[in-house]
Symmetry: C2
Subunit: 309 residues, 2 copies
Amino acid sequence: MSILLLTRPQPPELFSEALRALLPGETLWESADAADAAAVEAIIAWQLKPGVLLRYPNLRLICATAAGVEKITAMPDLRDNVMVMRVVDPLVNTGLAQYVLLMALRHMRSLQLFEAQQRAHDWTRHRPPDPYSLTAGILGMGEVGRTVAAALQIAGFNVRGWSRTPKDVPGIAMSDGADGLRSCLAQSNYLVCALPLTPQTRGLLNRDTLAMLPRGAYVINVARGGHVVEPDLVALLDSGHLGGAALDVQDTEPLPPASPLWDHPAITITPHIAAQASVATVSAQFAANWQRLRAGRSLVNVIDGTLGY
Amino acid sequence: MSILLLTRPQPPELFSEALRALLPGETLWESADAADAAAVEAIIAWQLKPGVLLRYPNLRLICATAAGVEKITAMPDLRDNVMVMRVVDPLVNTGLAQYVLLMALRHMRSLQLFEAQQRAHDWTRHRPPDPYSLTAGILGMGEVGRTVAAALQIAGFNVRGWSRTPKDVPGIAMSDGADGLRSCLAQSNYLVCALPLTPQTRGLLNRDTLAMLPRGAYVINVARGGHVVEPDLVALLDSGHLGGAALDVQDTEPLPPASPLWDHPAITITPHIAAQASVATVSAQFAANWQRLRAGRSLVNVIDGTLGY
């Protein structure tokens, strides 16, 4: 019985090296071509092509290397007896918080204006907004949202959180549901999307909801491209209602070279680099669950198929 | 008896409006030309020209609007019976922390590389450094340094602090003195200068000390231009030993248009905008000390003339 590594673009050799030390004696395959399909019991994957799961009749566990698991849990060929686990890596949350801080502060502190002034040798001063005069709203207050919230608070933002269902987060003004979303958006000069992508959250940031943001608001998406209706975002930037957006994720990845998002003056595009779980963490958390499975114990960080997170 | 407002480039009218409400009945002058020099008992100032204090024989209190007070305390015409107070504004500390976070994360997360990739419609991913794999060293662990330290810690940096004399800061690995400086510098991938400018700290960041930083280190100065020997910094950037620098303060301000710092590819210049105390806070803290002075009580936040901070 064996483990198949479908981790590309991350090199599978890195994972097999780490797993050999953690699970000595297990068979590890670094590509589908090399694998004996009938023997595959576990797959570690970033994403899976449609239909691929049909090849592995004895599959019991899929470990998703990315925080977003919707590409795997939404597969129609995912059988009920196959568990999907995710990796919970506090360093990933910190990496996402770094990205949010960077993009929020770059906008709030007018970095691009000062860069232009430097090119012109112009030392004109501009007073920054007072700390705590602006509010950041965070959609999704799971592990990621809470880490982002703490970082934004210490960096001088008022922080509000929204979750789809009621949630209590110490020190954060929370709201939930459709009415709560409206009030959170209405107060958010910075809007951070940190939601899981589910049928309920796909397209949540559309013309109607983005229009609820205050004039000049800045949108930061570190979740999934599918949360944002990209043409609606562009329309609200073009109308001047929104001030800008930083999109680490896009509806189609890699973003096609012909996409109009690349050249929009108010949009910052990055290639899904806000955070990535380390090979060591993925390998250790997979190995621990694999040993639980072998021992007939229940697993941790398993995705609820109904909720999708 | 009266108060003279020499706050330019900040408009003195803003301060007189705030002070009229706080200290009704006091005479306020918005320029030296308008003032009756013999009646001036207090001055609120950003900086003072040499010799200006000789005009005010009855001066008792100077309130510095900037965190750095060295331009005032170093004046040879400052008499012993004139007290100098500074403004302690937690929001200024947060503003400085925002600037440090922005510049450190912009470098750590390769923002300029991703900006160039966006211009080229290039979606190539690059793995960021793991959070907590890099260390930020902070020189000067007063109010500013401690606020910066807390923000950098939550943003994923290991933080070390250095102070000239021994100081204990909970949760921060501290060092002090010449030997401590050497060890702090040797470990600092990011170096933040948050020192007061005194005869002991002027030119502290020179060819010898900057060379102690690890190869590729990034320097952020939010204190005073006089802390950095600018030609030495440029030499170490040119040699490739240092990776870059963000200078919110420069030895000559405004930075002259002909300065070579403007066009150095590894230097970011901003026009002393990292943080500024609000008019409301300056006015309130001055008014409170002014009332203490009137009542014969001791003042708060008075500068020690020997230490210079």
